[in-house]
């Protein structure tokens, strides 16, 4: 990967973290395909990236919640930029845990977007890269998926499912030389977290994006960003369920 600077698909390109990742990859000279459902915003991001970095930037429309659009997305991206070297999955939906406890539609949306939609796009990308025996996939899961907590278990379980899906996929694809990296961010200062005063120490999305691309270059399998979250989650996972269930985390 040090030498090749192939095209990279960013699915969910309007996300705050994705923007930082696109910027890092574009600076290194990768052609970028920005994909999402917000056409005018994608255009603005594309101008931004190409003026700042001088790299080739394309846009593609898709709706993560509609799996039928996923194969089309891959076709469109490859038609515009060429065979993909890599793909980043950044779309996600935090939702409202309180609402999800009373409104099944909210719970379902959280589960579907974070797990089913991601799995669907991974399904499409995996078979393409597996056939070509090359490529890499980076997916934004979350520390929330490491342990179910009262305050966000709907979102957490979807991300936890995604993390497990990625473990299996990594093992499957490594046989074909395709690298899969799971990213577990702690709370990051984006639209997703803005205004919730419960969250301590929000990480800067620019720093998070840079750390992710650095880990990617080192072919990490699983990366926590910022890195102290690895230890924090390790400790949190070791607390016995008997005790853990009494906390209000």
């Amino acid at each position: 990967m040090q030498v090749s600077k192939g095209p990279v698909l960013i699915a969910g390109a309007t996300s705050g973290i994705a923007r930082a990742i696109s910027n890092e990859l574009a600076k290194e000279g990768h052609p970028i395909v920005l994909a999402g459902r917000d056409e005018s915003e994608l255009q603005r991001l594309a101008s931004d990236l190409s003026i700042r970095t001088g790299t080739e930037v394309h846009t593609a429309l898709f709706d993560a919640s509609d799996p039928a659009t996923h194969p089309l997305l891959l076709m469109e991206a490859s038609a515009k930029a060429g065979k993909l070297e890599g793909a980043v999955l950044a779309f996600g939906y935090l939702g409202d845990q309180q609402l999800a406890q009373t409104d099944w539609q909210e719970a379902r949306k959280i589960l579907e977007l974070n797990f089913v939609s991601a799995a669907s796009l991974l399904h499409v990308l995996a078979s393409d890269m597996e056939t070509r025996q090359t490529g890499w996939i980076t997916v934004l899961s979350s520390v929330a998926g490491d342990r179910g907590r009262m305050s966000n278990y709907v979102y957490g379980s979807a991300k936890g499912g995604l993390t497990v899906f990625l473990q299996g996929l990594r093992a499957r694809l490594q046989k074909s030389g395709v690298h899969v990296m799971t990213v577990k961010p702690g709370p990051v200062d984006t639209a997703m977290t803005f205004g919730s005063d419960k969250l301590p120490l929000l990480a800067d999305p620019g720093d998070v994006g840079a750390a992710i691309v650095k880990a990617l270059k080192r072919r990490k399998d699983v990366v926590y960003v910022p890195s102290p979250w690895r230890l924090i989650m390790f400790v949190l996972r070791t607390v016995p369920e008997k005790v853990f269930k009494k906390t209000s985390l």
């Binding site: 056409e39 603005r44 991001l45 931004d48 003026i51 509609d66 659009t69 379902r108 639209a191 803005f194």
Partner: protein, 473 residues
């Protein structure tokens, strides 16, 4: 894939639920307790929204005020009873014309964003304040000046046009030709006419990322002012540091600093990549220092520099960061002043009274030793067209002063001298001036208020600065 399909799926998806678009949800409001300007005085408990997409930058219910990177020192970017519209995430570059150098970008784009991306391509910002952590919107609203004001005027002189969203939510374009009154009320208008959403800025070509700089020592105010005004010493960028502790025959002694963008041929051959100087990280300032710490520190460095400069003209090459942004190298340097914060005081006096008035003020400062230590003196060129724009032809002096109880009456005394000499005080740095001093300094205020009334009859855009000064009563 066609847009049609996209819209379909937006309505009702195959799985049967309606995906609500994130931006349709009400914007999240965040409590901003103890928010302040860069001087950390005064503070306000308020709340804000932070749009991630430019189309969501719009007035909300109640009063509101745009805020960029909060580098105004006092209460210009504070609104207690209302909502701050935080623009810091709106920094997309939208268009660049490499023939004319005109860049169009979102209002939250910082000068740092622009320099980082455009200097390697051979372009520089036309005017810059002493920090690059400030936004296009903030630079327009304060109509900022740089060390080249005497040659190139203020920031707005290099802004061909901008878009803004008004109190009623409509979006308009403004330029010196299109809605010129709105344009000139907004340049220097401290965010009180509406929210700038996008702006064009005409960048200037440079051959290198380096500056050719020279320093000249001066023994007294006569000499310092002479250096700033003598065409023989003139350069694109000029400024002088003044030792405020020196009195008597050495009153106004200082170091004159001049600079030009270095040409490729002026660089040493060791500099391999003239447009890409090696990146230097910034160091965060780790703790709040007690209030007294800065004084001895900066006096020492001034004396060191003063003694180091031997002959009459020391010439050297340095990076643009070292020349323009010496303080940006220390992240959060405002914490050096401790929790109580500090005030920045900047005034300008018209040429005819500038020398006498500056002298009187320096005499006050050198007598009142604990007030200040270092000041920056600069010559301004002709006044621009911004109605509340600060610069006028004359001399401007800026000082940082740590906050103490007796500081406020002391500064009121300085205001009297400024008023008596027909000068004005810079709003972007003010936290304490009285309405009379403001009215005396800004004769076009009524014209400004008429236009503000036309575009914002209910006074939706408001700030603590505006209430304190009774800006448009």
């Amino acid at each position: 894939m066609q847009a049609q399909r996209f819209q379909d799926s937006d309505d009702v998806s195959a799985s049967g639920y309606t995906p609500t678009r994130m931006q349709e949800a009400r914007p999240s409001v965040k409590k901003l307790e103890g928010l302040s300007g860069w001087g950390r005085y005064p503070t306000a408990d308020t709340a804000g929204i932070r749009p991630e997409k430019a189309r969501d930058l719009a007035p909300v219910e109640g009063r509101c005020l745009a805020r960029g990177l909060g580098r105004a020192y006092g209460d210009a970017a504070l609104l207690s009873m209302g909502t701050m519209l935080l623009t810091e995430r709106l920094n997309r570059f939208l268009d660049f014309d490499d023939q004319t150098g005109v860049l169009r970008a979102e209002a939250g784009t910082s000068l740092k964003d622009i320099l980082d991306a455009m200097v390697p391509q051979g372009w520089f910002v036309p005017v810059t304040p002493g920090t690059k952590h400030c936004t296009l919107g903030g630079c327009i609203a304060s109509d900022v000046h740089g060390k080249n004001h005497h040659r190139d005027g203020t920031f707005s002189a290099h802004v061909p046009r901008f878009s803004m969203v008004l109190a009623d939510g409509t979006i308009v374009q403004a330029s010196p030709i299109e809605n010129p009154e709105l344009f000139w009320a907004t340049c220097g208008g401290m965010g009180l006419t509406g929210v700038v959403t996008e702006a064009e800025l005409k960048l200037v070509p440079v051959e290198t990322a380096y500056m050719k700089v020279w320093h000249v020592r001066s023994q007294n105010l006569d000499k310092t002012v002479a250096l700033l005004t003598d065409p023989g010493y003139d350069a694109q960028y000029t400024v002088a540091w003044i030792d405020c502790l020196a009195g008597g025959s050495r009153l106004g002694r200082g170091i004159f600093m001049a600079g030009e963008h270095a040409k490729k041929s002026e660089l040493s051959l060791r500099i391999l990549n003239p447009l890409n100087p090696p990146a230097k990280g910034t160091k965060p300032f780790p703790v709040d220092l007690p209030g007294w710490a800065l004084n001895p520190m900066s006096i020492k460095s001034f004396n060191w520099l003063y003694n180091w400069i031997q002959g009459s003209r020391k010439e050297f090459i340095c990076s643009y960061d070292q020349f323009f942004y010496p303080l940006d190298g220390i992240h959060d340097w405002n914490r050096m002043y401790g929790k109580r914060g500090f005030l920045q005081y900047q005034f300008v006096l018209p040429m005819r009274t500038a020398f006498q008035g500056t002298k009187e003020i320096l005499e006050r400062l050198s007598k009142n030793r604990k007030a200040s230590f270092l000041a920056v003196l600069k010559r301004f060129g002709p006044q621009g067209q911004g109605m509340l724009s600060f610069p006028m032809e004359g001399l401007t002096l800026a000082l940082d002063i740590p906050f103490t109880e007796d500081l406020l009456p002391f500064l009121d005394g300085l205001d009297d001298i400024v008023m008596r000499h027909g000068g004005r005080i810079y709003l972007a740095k003010d936290a304490r001036m009285k309405p009379e001093a403001f009215r005396a300094g800004y004769p076009r205020i009524d014209e400004f208020c008429d236009i503000r009334k036309r575009y914002d009859p209910e006074g939706k855009f408001d700030s603590n600065l505006a209430s304190r000064l009774g800006l448009c009563r």
